[in-house]
């Protein structure tokens, strides 16, 4: 008779996650980004000196369930709040958590200035191409052809709605930026790859190199009008062509 060896737990929710109960939609990519970040904060032993500056969006639900200090900012304003925090507490680890509506619509001016000033925090962009929390409206990153609550009849067309802003590529051109990468959460492989980008971005801050940004494409089945299981394909066919996954800048 063979005996079964005892099984060891190899994966579990991050220790820094205080609760697995959240109200985000089935199949949402944002909790995956949160998990990845919390795992890293724990692995790099940063909990005790981390200050998360959270923007306004669906992810605003997260500060209540994470075991790190949080400054909740207003819509678009997280980079400025992070600037104030990092300037007065320079040895703390400061990162922003922002959606595309927050960073690229409301807060476009300040993310560019923070990058140009080389503010030494890490900005994390959760990009799902919509204003999710208000019900799925067009943002500056919505792709051409994308149907949203404000582009429903035609999908996004340049004559009516202009073109998307590719903020990561823009910021990579700004002096003061040390690390820019774009990842995604739509497959386990992409999640793993993105975690390495986040690790490198965090390292750029810890080494004092300057401003760092990781854009993370996240799935939003609700406002893409698809089933959750169709979102990996949606990312690859509709989203990633405008926002290719790559390390854009690494000093």
């Amino acid at each position: 008779m063979t005996t079964t060896p005892p099984l060891k737990k190899v994966s579990a929710k991050p220790d820094l996650l205080l609760s697995t109960e959240h109200s985000l939609c089935p199949g949402c990519g944002e909790p995956l980004a949160l998990r990845t970040i919390l795992e890293l904060v724990d692995e790099l032993d940063l909990r005790d000196r981390t200050i998360c500056v959270c923007g306004i969006g669906c992810y605003t639900a997260f500060p209540g369930i994470i075991d790190v200090d949080v400054l909740q900012a207003l819509h678009g304003r997280a980079p400025s709040v992070a600037t104030g925090a990092k300037r007065v507490l320079a040895d703390r680890f400061v990162f922003t958590l922002q959606g595309d509506g927050d960073m690229v619509n409301e807060g476009l001016q300040e993310i560019i200035h923070c990058a140009a000033r080389g503010e030494k925090f890490t900005a994390v962009l959760l990009n799902n191409g919509v204003f999710g929390e208000t019900g799925g409206h067009m943002t500056a990153t919505s792709v051409l052809g994308q149907r949203t609550k404000t582009t429903m009849a035609t999908g996004r067309v340049p004559e009516l709605h202009g073109w998307p802003i590719k903020i990561a590529d823009l910021l990579a051109q700004v002096d003061g930026t040390a690390y820019v990468a774009r990842g995604a959460m739509h497959t386990p492989a992409a999640i793993k790859w993105t975690k390495q980008c986040l690790r490198d971005a965090f390292r750029a801050q810890l080494d004092g190199k300057g401003f760092s940004l990781v854009e993370i494409l996240t799935m939003c089945p609700t406002d893409w009008y698809v089933e959750p299981t169709e979102t990996p394909d949606w990312v690859e066919r509709n989203f990633a062509p405008s926002y290719p996954l790559r390390v854009i800048k690494s000093l």
Partner: protein
């Protein structure tokens, strides 16, 4: 008006109002300043840009007022005394943040160097959304501005609220000999609520949204609690009165114009007119009891302010019809638009007060 917060005072130095306001903040332990150039507050930003690095602090010339107030939000949210200065237009840009700083209970000092006095409503009603109120202080001399800056930081930390200090172009560009209350590092109150990295304790969430765990249930409870706090802050009323005991007419004025009004009233007294003044130092909470008490004794309460009539509403609310409340101020600018207008002329003010005294002014 005595200084608060520090027992040591510096030697007297001759300083321009804007610079004195900035130095007073430095001496109160302010180690973060963000601002945007806008007349007549710009000299505060200039001064801070060289002075903050000297004391190991930070000054950021931000890309707009909106970013500047949010940088203050971040620094203050981490427990550092932080300040911003602007004028009415810039304060307008900051309104969402000013309203939400109250909800987040983040202390900071917001200086409005006004162009005239047309920002009274903006400051006292809360120019932003919601039911909040800031404490609002109005100095009339450079020395008082220094003392009120120190008081603003102290009250802000005590109540965990933004505190507005209203100066103006005249104050900013008037030079006086001033002495500063000097705060020791050890006098700074602890801020156990701040976001500093959660070493050795559970994590803090410094947020305007109320308790995030039960956001949907407790949202209303949070706003009610903030509103109740405002009611408790109304114990911070401050006011200066002069020559009021036997006065037949009282004049209410605040800020730099009050200096002119006090001079005019003294001139009236030499001509036998029994006039006194009431000078609110806190515009919010408004010293309504002082005004109400005077209303039962005088024939009229005149209001001199450099705007279309804003503080006069609070005076009328306090008087409640017991006496006529004539407006004897008005909008007054020179060609610059920065508020040093022809109305700030003692002879004009004396004439208007005399008209009220002799029953010639409409209430």
């Amino acid at each position: 008006m005595s200084a608060t917060g520090g027992t040591t005072r510096s030697r007297r130095v001759l300083m321009e109002g804007s610079h004195a306001i900035a130095e007073a903040a430095i001496q109160s332990g302010c180690r973060f300043y963000a601002g945007y150039p806008i007349t007549p507050s710009t000299e505060i930003l200039e001064y801070m840009s060289f002075r903050q690095p000297q004391v190991g602090g930070v000054c950021v010339n931000a890309e707009s007022e909106i970013e500047a107030i949010n940088m203050v939000w971040g620094a203050a949210g981490c427990g550092v005394r932080a300040m911003i200065a602007s004028t009415g237009q810039g304060i307008s840009l900051m309104q969402e943040s000013l309203a939400e700083l109250s909800n987040a209970e983040i202390p900071c000092v917001v200086v409005n160097m006004m162009r005239g006095q047309s920002d009274y409503y903006q400051a006292t009603r809360g120019g932003g959304h919601g039911d909040y109120r800031h404490l609002v202080l109005a100095p009339h001399t450079v020395q008082e501005a220094v003392d009120l800056i120190a008081l603003a930081f102290q009250l802000g930390d005590q109540w965990r609220t933004p505190v507005d200090v209203l100066g103006d172009f005249v104050l900013g560009h008037t030079s006086e000999a001033v002495e500063f209350p000097v705060l020791r590092e050890s006098d700074l109150p602890p801020k156990p609520w701040a976001a500093t990295g959660a070493r050795g304790r559970r994590a803090h969430n410094v947020t305007p949204l109320g308790s995030p765990e039960k956001l949907h249930l407790e949202h209303g409870a949070h706003f009610n609690a903030m509103s109740e706090k405002c009611a408790r802050m109304s114990t911070e009323k401050r006011c200066e009165t002069g020559l009021l005991d036997d006065a037949e007419v009282a004049v209410v004025a605040f800020g730099s114009p009050a200096r002119f009004v006090k001079y005019a009233i003294r001139q009236c007294r030499t001509r036998g007119l029994k006039v006194g003044w009431i000078r609110p130092i806190t515009l919010w909470p408004f010293p309504d009891e002082v005004v109400a008490a005077a209303a039962s004794r005088v024939r009229a309460i005149a209001v001199f302010e450099q705007n279309a009539g804003q503080m006069i509403d609070d005076v009328r609310l306090a008087v409640l019809g017991r006496a006529p409340v004539p407006a004897i101020g008005g909008i007054s600018h020179d060609h610059s638009g920065f508020g040093v207008g022809p109305l700030l002329e003692p002879a004009t003010i004396i004439r208007r007060i005399t008209d009220v005294y002799e029953g010639k002014a409409a209430a």
